[in-house]
């Protein structure tokens, strides 16, 4: 089962890589502009042995993970609150919807003005961007709870909080976790993008600036590749968590067997 999943995934990746390599070899794309896939892979492999790059990856990881954690700690309770208090939701909706489409990248200079610390700046940007999918998914998840399940709790005399803790949240949990998966990717994107803009002492984005300024597209793409791999690994971990924690969800909603 798992072996087959891995085999299929590997096939998919291989097909893409070969297609990209062929596009370069056949002249479909200009190799003076875009290096061959094999070149990028070779650079990516070399980077693993480059302590400077590893320090960059570490820097990004810290910003990403911490930002994500803070976003979860803020947005999930907030989403829970807004999802279970319709009045609060209607009142704050204009504010939320006003803030949501403002690119954290556009806010970066302003954040920079207020916060002197380099990684705190990037973390703030990550939190800002990652909070929205968490908030929206938590709210939608809470709204999707079966009313009979809630009424069952209420009929036993449980208060709002107990209903929330024992029914609404568990029932919404799979959807919240989907939100976490979305936020994880968004967080990585913003962490790297913020580094691409403000630079910093360490970070995959800062590495990309150095590589770009040295006209080394091969290195830029190799670093991009690693960013993708980071996201892939994080998602795989979350998916495994989802599979383990939410067996009931797959069973009752008929995930394909």
């Amino acid at each position: 089962m798992i072996r087959r999943r891995v085999a299929r995934g590997a096939t998919g990746v291989a097909v893409l890589l070969i297609a990209a390599e062929l596009a370069g070899r056949t002249g479909l794309v200009d190799t003076s502009l875009l290096p061959l896939m094999s070149t990028v892979l070779a650079r990516a492999a070399e980077l693993v042995a480059d302590p400077a790059f590893l320090a960059d990856v570490w820097g990004t990881l810290i910003v990403w993970a911490a930002g994500l954690l803070i976003a979860v700690v803020i947005a999930v309770p907030l989403g829970t609150l807004l999802g279970s208090l319709p009045r609060a939701e209607t009142a704050t909706r204009p504010l939320v919807e006003f803030l949501r489409p403002i690119p954290s990248v556009a806010l970066l200079p302003l954040i920079t003005l207020l916060i002197p610390d380099d990684s705190a700046i990037k973390m703030t940007a990550v939190v800002y961007a990652a909070a929205w999918p968490l908030l929206v998914n938590t709210m939608y998840g809470l709204r999707d709870v079966d009313p009979i399940a809630k009424e069952t709790m209420r009929s036993f005399g449980f208060g709002r909080l107990a209903v929330l803790a024992r029914v609404s949240l568990p029932s919404a949990a799979p959807f919240v976790l989907t939100g976490v998966r979305l936020a994880t990717a968004v967080g990585l994107i913003v962490a790297v993008s913020a580094e691409l803009i403000t630079g910093g002492t360490a970070g995959v984005g800062a590495f990309m600036i150095r590589a770009g300024a040295g006209f080394r597209t091969d290195l830029v793409l190799a670093a991009t590749l690693w960013a993708g791999v980071l996201g892939l690994v994080a998602n795989a971990l979350l998916l495994e968590l989802q599979r383990r924690a939410f067996r009931w969800h797959a069973a009752t909603s008929g995930e394909l067997s």
């Binding site: 799979p174 996201g231 998602n235 995930e255």
Partner: protein
């Protein structure tokens, strides 16, 4: 209450409806003036050139965009030249992302084999920052609209895709069994069962993507663009036009607000069954 008893019943309900609508409006918007006032006071107190008060921002926005001739709906040439292309890219990119995201998402959600092959690529792809892909896009697409739309699609598609996969994968088992038993064809199952059942989740993804589309519109206009709201943003930044920059930010927020409100109106119609079925009485 006592006044109501003297009125004919029809009149009472009408009044209630009117009063209801007014109070509904109040509950919906009361926070806005509060926040704006707090912002005005806070920024005046701080008196930092980098954080101009909203009144100053609005004045600058008026000067930049809304002081045009009546024939152009008071929009200036700058506004027309920047808003229209931006909105075109925004909607174009979002529409493409919706079609691709929902289509691919449902396919991946319902086919374990296909998902097996493509899932890692999806997970890989969505972890890559769109700005990092610009070197790739600039080779593949033509600079300008083509590349901008590609950037928007690339950035916006993921929440739609992920939520569509999730929604399509987890349809109530008994719903699918019922469809199976009544021998519903593929198309019917797709349009009558899977899409409506996945609807709430797909819409959650779409709602996320609307705001994201605005963000990516801005990002896409930061490279090689000669017009658009994003270009305006970077131009005001380069010119140290701080009130102008804030105007663009506020404009983006307002744009998102409007888009989201229209989106919710659509959602309320399409998902009315869901809202009413899930209401706790």
């Amino acid at each position: 209450m006592s006044a109501a008893t003297t009125l004919p019943p029809a009149e009472v309900t009408k009044r209630r409806a009117r009063g209801g609508r007014l109070s509904a409006l109040v509950t919906r918007v009361w926070l806005i003036p509060v926040v704006v006032a707090a912002w005005e006071i806070g920024t005046r107190q701080a008196a930092s050139a980098y954080f101009p008060p909203p009144s100053q921002i609005v004045a600058r926005a008026y000067e930049l965009w809304f002081s045009g001739p009546a024939a152009h709906l008071f929009l200036t040439d700058d506004a027309l030249g920047d808003f229209l292309p931006s909105l075109a890219r925004l909607f174009g990119g979002w529409a493409v992302a919706c079609v691709l995201g929902i289509g691919l998402g449902v396919a991946l959600g319902r086919s374990r084999a296909l998902a097996g092959y493509i899932d890692p690529l999806v997970e890989f792809g969505r972890a890559i920052p769109p700005p990092a892909l610009v070197p790739l896009f600039i080779v593949i697409f033509k600079l300008g609209t083509e590349m901008q739309v590609a950037t928007i699609v690339y950035g916006v598609i993921w929440p739609i895709l992920i939520n569509s996969i999730d929604g399509a994968r987890y349809v109530d088992r008994l719903h699918m069994d019922t469809a199976e038993v009544f021998g519903m064809g593929r198309a019917q199952r797709l349009f009558r069962i899977i899409l409506p059942a996945a609807g709430p989740k797909i819409f959650a993804g779409l709602r996320l993507s609307v705001a994201l589309a605005v963000i990516l519109m801005v990002l896409s206009e930061l490279v090689g663009s000669t017009d658009g709201i994003g270009y305006q943003l970077s131009y005001t930044q380069m010119n140290f036009d701080l009130a102008g920059m804030w105007s663009v930010i506020v404009l983006l927020g307002v744009l998102g607000l409007v888009l989201n409100a229209s989106f919710l109106a659509v959602e309320r119609r399409v998902l009315s069954w869901h809202r009413r079925a899930r209401q706790t009485t």
